[in-house]
Symmetry: C2
Subunit: 222 residues, 2 copies
């Protein structure tokens, strides 16, 4: 059975990605990060969600990105914007996907895994540089050089099944796969219970996705 590491934040995209990986027959190893994010309740959501999946192992890596700061998600002195902003919003976390993918690469090699799944999306997204196809293609080239496993002829494949889908398409796909999206937390300003603000960039993209998909929004708002 092929093995895969799945980056799992507890949000709509990453949970759909996990369901897709499992539907493709992978033995799934979910990887989450306790990185000083203000919406830490997403990690409680991860636990509740994983209780609905069979045969998924899970690891949470602690990483004190809040001692670096530089983002509204890791520095409480920078507010999460509640209005759309021009350019890349302050919720961008410097090098976050590079950091998360590199740790996924390390764990994938320890597991002798075949693939890493990441739920990046370059359609209904916030313009983050490390969600774009050219970024993913270049990380793949790096992964092909970075590990012993790659040198021995078994490179780890980066899988991004959502990258070209709209949010509505992602939601329809997830519903087909049986996901209960009320359990997922996408909100950057989620409260301790994981209830969403309904106003941040992530909430707006998510709500528009449910509307476009013609599906009743199951998100629990504050």
């Amino acid at each position: 059975m092929s093995r895969a590491v799945i980056l799992l934040s507890g949000g709509l995209d990453s949970v759909t990605t996990l369901a897709i990986a499992q539907s493709q027959g992978y033995q799934c190893h979910a990887l989450s990060f306790d990185y000083g994010q203000r919406h830490r309740s997403e990690l409680d959501a991860v636990k509740r969600i994983l209780a609905c999946f069979v045969d998924v192992t899970h690891k949470v890596i602690h990483l004190d990105l809040d001692q670096m700061g530089g983002s509204a998600l890791t520095d409480v002195d920078i507010a999460v914007p509640m209005q759309p902003s021009a350019g890349i919003p302050v919720t961008y976390v410097p090098a976050r996907n590079t950091i998360f993918l590199s740790l996924a690469l390390g764990w994938a090699e320890v597991l002798s895994a075949d693939a890493i799944f990441i739920g990046v999306n370059a359609v209904d997204y916030s313009g983050y540089p490390d969600c774009r196809p050219e970024y993913i293609e270049t990380f793949q080239k790096l992964a092909n050089l970075a590990t012993r496993q790659a040198l021995e002829g078994k490179a780890i494949k980066l899988e991004t099944p959502l990258i070209h889908l709209s949010k509505a398409e992602i939601i329809r796909k997830g519903i087909q796969l049986g996901i209960d999206y009320s359990m997922t937390v996408s909100c950057y300003a989620a409260d301790a219970k994981g209830h969403a603000c309904g106003e941040c960039d992530s909430c707006r993209l998510r709500a528009a996705g449910f509307a476009d998909a013609g599906v009743s929004d199951p998100t629990i708002y504050q």
Copy 2:
């Protein structure tokens, strides 16, 4: 004044790299990792070494790579080999340089830094895949895509001043710059005082470097 993040393990190569970066006029921000390494005394060496440098800020990131394992450096059940081995030795830590560089990239962006210095060497080295020039060139391509700062036209440059030097050349360079190598810890099996075993791959490469340079070996052995 240009700013740089310097990956600083406390070993011979990284300390030389710090001295080179400072000699080039960079305002230096040293980054170390408490990653579950068995030779954790290298972090005490970092503190002693930094007391000899002026105007270097320092950050230590805690990262529980030992919960992943897969290397003699992060899993106490895998012994550090005391004889040369064929191929990449078991001291290889899966994706370590990718992980360290990605965190350096994040901190560099928070600092609006111009460069990241890493003391990789592809001459007198253990054959690790993530020390090779083609790996470094590809990480540079990734860094050029990964951050907001790069998109805004100020890409972060990866500097590897040691990559093509022999260990003897590195030592001569460091002595010119005033480094007291007795303070550095390269040994994979260093004891709590930072004293070296004299037998592991890292000790052998280091001792041969001092011999080739015609310099008395100042390493404190167990």
